[in-house]
Amino acid sequence: MHITLDLSVRLVPAGACPSSRSQARARRVGRSGNEPVPVGYLATEYGCVGAHGTRESNLAIPGILSPVAKVMVSLPDDLLVDLDAEAARRGLTRSGLLRDLAQESLRRRGADRAARVGEILGGAGAHGGGVAELLKAHRPR
């Protein structure tokens, strides 16, 4: 396994990398050379370079850099055409659109869960408090 990193590293905000140009120049790091693996990115003057990725090895500085994984996704051709059209309409890259759609979907699911829990716990009872102690007292010994 090879890791290729340019030595002249500059830090860029999360989301600013990779650009489409730098993507084209990015070098993917994989076991066989063709096998995609999660990677993080460093911005170098030569573009974004994949850093082989355990979570620890991704360079991430809270508030400045966050790790970005590069993944391979299989899509039907027709769906890809529709996605590209939507990305163009929104002025986004394909990756940006997929990121937005995923975040929207998860946010909506979280909101549904919150509403459902609120409805359930509307009927919460009064049981005397001290739940942490009660929980321990009723565990098998």
């Binding site: 946010r107 699911r109 919460a124 009872g125 049981h127 009723h138 565990r139």
Partner: protein, 139 residues
């Protein structure tokens, strides 16, 4: 955004209006943050509701809360590898295997553990209180 893994005590606090952490637990569960729990919680909350509270309706509500978390992608299964890690954590920290299972589950999904158990879990730096996790400026 931080993902929070809630142990059984937080779920019970959300159901018990008399508990000191009730309001914070509710705020956490009814917020849109990323939440999870361990499947062990299903047994633990049911046990307390039925055996201690003798309240089948409370048990039903608590199972409903866990089902809602599961549908939001937040139910962690206690797989053998997780239990192996839990056994090690229990040994290292001198905590119960139950508590260690939640600690291991939180680590497995890169979440922070939330618990109402100050003495065994929070004081050891293994979890946060619901009040900390529910703060508007929580990470």
């Amino acid at each position: 955004m931080t993902r929070w893994l809630l142990d059984a005590s937080v779920l019970l606090a959300a159901e018990d209006r008399d508990d000191a952490s009730h309001a914070d637990a509710r705020r956490l569960l009814e917020g849109t943050g990323r939440l999870a729990t361990l499947d062990l919680a299903l047994y633990e909350v049911t046990n307390v509701a039925i055996v201690a509270w003798k309240d089948a309706a409370a048990a039903h509500r608590l199972r409903g809360v866990i089902a809602a978390l599961a549908d939001d992608g937040g139910l962690v299964r206690a797989e053998p590898s997780l239990l192996e890690t839990a056994a090690e954590l229990a040994h290292v920290h001198g905590i119960s295997a139950y508590d260690a299972a939640y600690v291991a589950a939180a680590a497995a999904v890169r979440a922070e553990l939330v618990s109402c158990d100050v003495r065994a879990i929070v004081a050891r730096g293994l979890a946060r209180l619901p009040a900390d996790a529910a703060r508007p400026d929580a990470p």
